[in-house]
């Protein structure tokens, strides 16, 4: 069984694309081969800066012959139908077979597809893989029309048989004919050479200074780097992304370590690390005793006669120039922070657009500050401190350092806030208000940071809801899902008790004010500002809006309140947007809790109740309900509830009425019935107050007490009794079961 070796040799492939491209080559080639009937034993793909390679072992020498039987028209069918069948099957009339079927004599054709040699199939599949390769970005070059990530220079494609004889697969793409040759390292190789097999290929590449396997290159780099650092009592700062990238920039990694000038060691370590990584692809080397970054590791692509001395000196020089820039930014920024304060930077953000409809960063910061003031008391932060923090939290966006290194936003803010002598809570909020970014990021816990972090994310979400730019499908350019998850994680991790509705409503109104300020009359803006104040008092938009409207109805100089007026539109729109955004939060919450192993139907059952905007409450309920349903009592009670609900729903459908109240113990006929009345009274007396006190364990306990009487009732009693009075009374009794259970959660949503 032959082995296949393919190499696509090109100019330098971007490091970030290599691993994916190797996998794509493997998948597309092997899929194509298998589809054509060529199965194989194993396949492995490789990438270097200049090549993608694929080795497929144990390929069939040719695809198997297949035959398929196809039933045709009846013998007496019109000639046209028979001809059509012959064309479709690709056989001649003399090859047809006639069989007797129930309906008469019918033609049958046997279509035989002879096997094809592997080389032929490989050539076809490879050509189509090359032509349709899924590069994230591809290009043309010269006068050709082929697209590849960078100019493709040669194709190596050989089949090696069991005897070790290699045969070139004859094929050509855009004038590049496949052969059995390749070349090694650009500078320290020995030109083109031919190969016989994968082993031969890999060995000759190594001889010519190319390590084919990216993992082997990465391991080598890491090993050498840690050895060099260890020898001097230092540690390499781990960075897997950088390691993978560097392994994609070299074919023959040579690891060199150099020092950072004494002048630069005063820069914040994050600045050193970022500057070295972003600009130079250097690893940072830390002194574990001082925690300072004192050296760097760079990876060259070759050996030299001077053992890398020239290369290292050059790199050191470039680094010094870069770090001079960084120090220049740092010192300038510190001077501004100390002399003018961070608010001066915030003011400059009025020239920076956040989003074209949502206005400048400066305007956004003011909205965040307003919301942070409202949230502060609920998270234990001082309102004035929260506002102060919100006003400077994004100031560093104006700093030179963040302009140069956007990924240092927040962190630089913290340094600069400290330099400006701002309170430590404010400095911390500068950094922490962006958190959490990733799903595994730490969540802020300091009160001021919490207030600003929540205000920031809620302002973003409400803003994009207000201008109807919600995420759709895989499109979420403003990372709104991440913002919503951030809010959820902050609330849950800190056990915060907030009604999101209130803040969502308020912030939507703030956005509506900002969006309409240019076109609306001052009266209209004033009225909306009043609504904002009322929301702070009433807690929800509807009541606040009505209160303001009622006050204006009588007044002579009230703004336009008619249909289509700004105020009416806002009045109609805000509740819808708010409901929609809350549903978005609920969707994210479900995903989040499901990832943590909670049943989605349990969450749904709890979300159906009032108070869905208090996420901590929802989760507490869901936790208690989930635990309860795992117990025997819980499982049985659920069955009892479902039985009651089914009977009741059927009866209600049939009778066209809703049985909701009026069950009276005096119509109870059996002991079980009477016992159930007593049990429901007892449960009701406990569940109401327990829910009120948010003591879900007690509420569940009271539910559990209902289980035995409900079971006994269903065992002994026929609900649909002959006597209509008795029947109705029993249905009303079932309605009580339903009502009591639904106080705790919407059990109809529980599956099973």
């Amino acid at each position: 069984m032959p082995n296949l070796l393919i190499e696509l040799f090109s100019e330098e492939i971007p490091a970030r694309m290599q691993a994916r491209a190797a996998e794509d080559l493997k998948k597309r080639m092997t899929d194509g081969l298998v589809e054509a009937g060529l199965t194989y034993a194993g396949a492995a793909a490789f990438s270097t800066p200049r090549r993608l390679a694929l080795a497929v072992d144990g390929l069939l020498a040719e695809s198997p012959t297949t035959s398929e039987e196809r039933k045709g028209p009846r013998v007496d069918a019109p000639e046209k139908a028979i001809e059509g069948f012959l064309r479709g099957a690709g056989v001649g009339r003399d090859q047809l077979e006639i069989r007797d079927e129930k309906k008469g004599q019918v033609y049958f054709a046997t279509i035989t597809r002879p096997g094809r040699p592997a080389a032929q199939i490989v050539a076809e599949v490879l050509e189509s893989v090359i032509r349709d390769f899924p590069w994230p970005k591809s290009m043309r070059w010269g006068s050709g029309s082929l697209r590849w990530v960078r100019p493709l220079h040669s194709i190596l494609c050989i089949l090696t048989d069991d005897a070790g004889e290699a045969q070139v697969v004859p094929m050509e793409v855009d004038g590049i004919a496949a052969g059995n040759t390749t070349e090694g390292h650009r500078f320290i190789g020995s030109g083109r050479f031919s190969v016989r097999s994968f082993d031969d290929y890999q060995a000759k590449l190594k001889r010519d200074r190319v390590i084919l396997d990216a993992g082997e290159r990465a391991d080598h780099i890491w090993q050498e780097a840690t050895n060099l650092a260890f020898a001097q009592g230092l540690q390499v700062v781990e960075d897997r992304g950088l390691l993978a990238e560097v392994a994609g920039l070299v074919e023959w990694p040579v690891v060199l370590m150099g020092g950072i000038g004494e002048d630069f060691l005063g820069l914040p370590p994050e600045v050193l690390q970022t500057s070295m990584k972003e600009h130079q692809k250097f690893f940072s080397v830390k002194n574990p005793k001082t925690g300072r970054i004192e050296k760097f590791i760079t990876v060259a692509n070759r050996e030299t006669a001077d053992h890398g001395a020239t290369i290292l000196a050059g790199n050191q020089k470039v680094l010094a120039a870069r770090l001079s820039d960084a120090r220049f930014f740092w010192e300038n920024d510190l001077r501004v922070a100390k002399e003018q304060g961070l608010e001066a930077w915030t003011d400059r953000l009025s020239n920076v657009t956040f989003q074209h409809r949502l206005g400048s960063q400066r305007a956004r910061i003011e909205r965040i500050a307003a919301l942070a003031r409202e949230i502060a008391p609920l998270v234990g932060a001082g309102p004035d401190l929260a506002v102060q923090a919100a006003r400077v939290a994004k100031a560093d966006l104006s700093s030179e350092m963040v302009y140069e290194f956007p990924e240092l936003q927040g962190l630089m803010g913290r340094y600069y806030a400290e330099a400006a002598g701002l309170p430590p809570e404010v400095a911390a909020a500068c950094e922490e208000h962006y958190s959490p970014l990733g799903p595994s990021d730490d969540v802020p816990t300091a009160p001021v940071s919490l207030a600003v972090a929540l205000a920031d994310k809620l302002d973003t979400l409400t803003g994009f809801w207000a201008i109807d730019e919600k995420p759709t499908g895989s499109k979420d350019p403003y990372a709104l899902r991440r913002a919503a998850l951030g809010v959820i994680r902050i609330v849950l991790a800190n056990g915060l008790r907030l009604h999101l509705d209130r803040f969502v409503d308020g912030q939507l109104v703030r956005h509506k004010i900002a969006l309409n300020r240019a076109d609306a009359s001052p009266d209209e803006i004033d009225t909306l500002e009043e609504v904002l104040d009322e929301i702070a008092d009433h807690g929800v938009f509807g009541a606040a809006f009505r209160a303001v409207m009622d006050r204006l109805q009588g007044s002579k100089d009230a703004p336009d309140l008619g249909d289509g007026s700004l105020l009416r539109t806002v009045g109609d729109l805000v509740p819808d947007l708010s409901t929609d955004l809350l549903a978005f939060f609920h969707d994210r919450l479900k995903v989040h809790l499901r990832d943590q192993g909670m049943r989605h139907d349990v969450i749904d059952a709890c979300l159906a109740l009032d108070g869905g905007d208090d996420l901590t409450l929802v989760v507490a309920r869901a936790g208690a309900l989930g635990a309860f349903l795992q117990t025997e009592d819980g499982g049985n009670l659920l069955q009892g509830f479902k039985r009651a609900n089914n009977i009741l729903t059927q009866a209600e459908d049939k009778d066209g009425v809703e049985y909701s109240f009026g069950a009276d113990v005096k119509f109870a006929e059996t002991d079980e019935e009477k016992a159930l009345f007593a049990a429901l009274d007892a449960a009701e007396a406990k569940i109401g107050p327990a829910m009120q006190a948010e003591d879900y364990a007690a509420a569940m306990g009271a539910m559990a007490d209902m289980r035995a009487p409900i079971d006994a009732f269903f065992d002994a009693v026929q609900v649909n009794a002959e006597n209509d009075v008795v029947r109705r009374n029993r249905l009303n009794l079932l309605a009580r079961i339903r009502g009591i259970c639904l106080q705790v959660a919407d059990l109809t949503r529980i599956e099973g």
């Binding site: 330098e12 920039l249 070299v250 760079t298 020239t310 020089k317 657009t353």
Partner: protein
């Protein structure tokens, strides 16, 4: 491997060696364009000649101006006026990387001792409506050139594709000559009777232009010039293809493109004066791009642009 070149001794020697090298490789060695531009790419020998089907090979030095980079001659690496060396070959030859590496050897970079790398860098010029794929070329961690395969210019797909090389001459020369501050770099031979440093030639002009660019340039005048250049460009392109005086078909792509270059540079000056807000910025860039597009449209209707009708 090629024999080791003797090290050059001055800035101008590096330029001369590049000129000689690319001349030997068959490029027409052109002179700089006689207008203020932000980069060598703006020279019509690149922007316009990368369009259409006619083969092309040119190399030239282009003085380039970036008003916002002015540092009064004090920053060791930053200048508001500097030189780029530009090579454009259409169609891009298959051995363009090797040709490029040869040029580094020609200016005294010893391939046996240095680490040359091609690091992904996609090029895009929003003002020219152009983009391409390629790399920044690193020598021992320092970016010494941009290497780009043009895919689109002025909104037109490039067929065939041009290969473009851009060398930042000061930075490259400082590296080769081992100089830390640009102003200290020998401009001519350091043993010449009148040895001149880069600072002797340019320190004063850097100061003068930094002051003018940042604080003095009359923004009202500049704004008017921008509008005028824009209007003139459009007026030129609105003319009939046939010249009424000679009766010849003369599409004035180049004069129109001069106005586009002018508008682009004025925009850069306005930007340095800090009078363009972030939102306006996009709109100015869009206006220049619209001009570049129209000029490109016009050029492909000329003989040099491959027009045969």
């Amino acid at each position: 491997m090629a024999r080791q070149q003797e090290k050059p001794r001055s800035f101008q020697e590096i330029i001369l060696r590049l000129q000689t090298y690319w001349a030997a490789k068959g490029c027409a060695v052109l002179q700089p364009y006689d207008m203020e531009v932000g980069a060598g790419t703006f020279h019509p020998a690149t922007t316009l000649r990368s369009l259409g089907t006619q083969p092309w090979a040119a190399a030239y030095v282009q003085p380039s101006r970036r008003p916002t980079d002015g540092r009064y001659g004090e920053n060791p690496n930053r200048l508001q006026h500097y030189y780029q060396y530009q090579v454009l070959i259409k169609p891009s030859p298959p051995d363009l990387q090797a040709l490029y590496l040869g040029s580094l050897e020609a200016i005294g970079i010893d391939m046996e001792l240095h680490d040359i790398r091609f690091v992904e860098d996609d090029w895009e010029s929003p003002t020219l409506g152009a983009w391409g794929l390629g790399w920044e070329v690193w020598c021992d961690g320092m970016e010494v050139s941009q290497f780009t395969y043009f895919q689109q210019v002025g909104g037109h797909d490039c067929h065939p594709v041009s290969g473009e090389l851009t060398y930042g001459l000061e930075r490259l020369a400082m590296y080769v000559l081992g100089i830390d501050h640009v102003m200290d770099m020998p401009f001519n031979d350091p043993d010449a009777p009148i040895a001149l440093s880069y600072g002797d030639v340019f320190r004063q002009t850097e100061q003068e232009y930094s002051r003018w660019n940042f604080d003095v340039a009359d923004t009202a005048v500049l704004l008017r010039h921008f509008e005028e250049a824009e209007a003139e460009c459009e007026a030129i392109l609105a003319c009939d293809d046939t010249d009424p005086k000679t009766g010849l078909r003369i599409v004035m792509a180049h004069p129109a493109y001069d106005q586009c270059i002018k508008a682009s540079h004025i925009f850069n000056l306005l930007d340095a004066r800090g009078v363009i807000s972030v939102t306006e910025r996009q709109s100015y860039i869009g206006r220049v791009r619209a001009l570049a597009r129209q000029c490109a449209d016009a050029f492909v209707r000329t003989g040099a642009g491959g027009y045969a009708g």
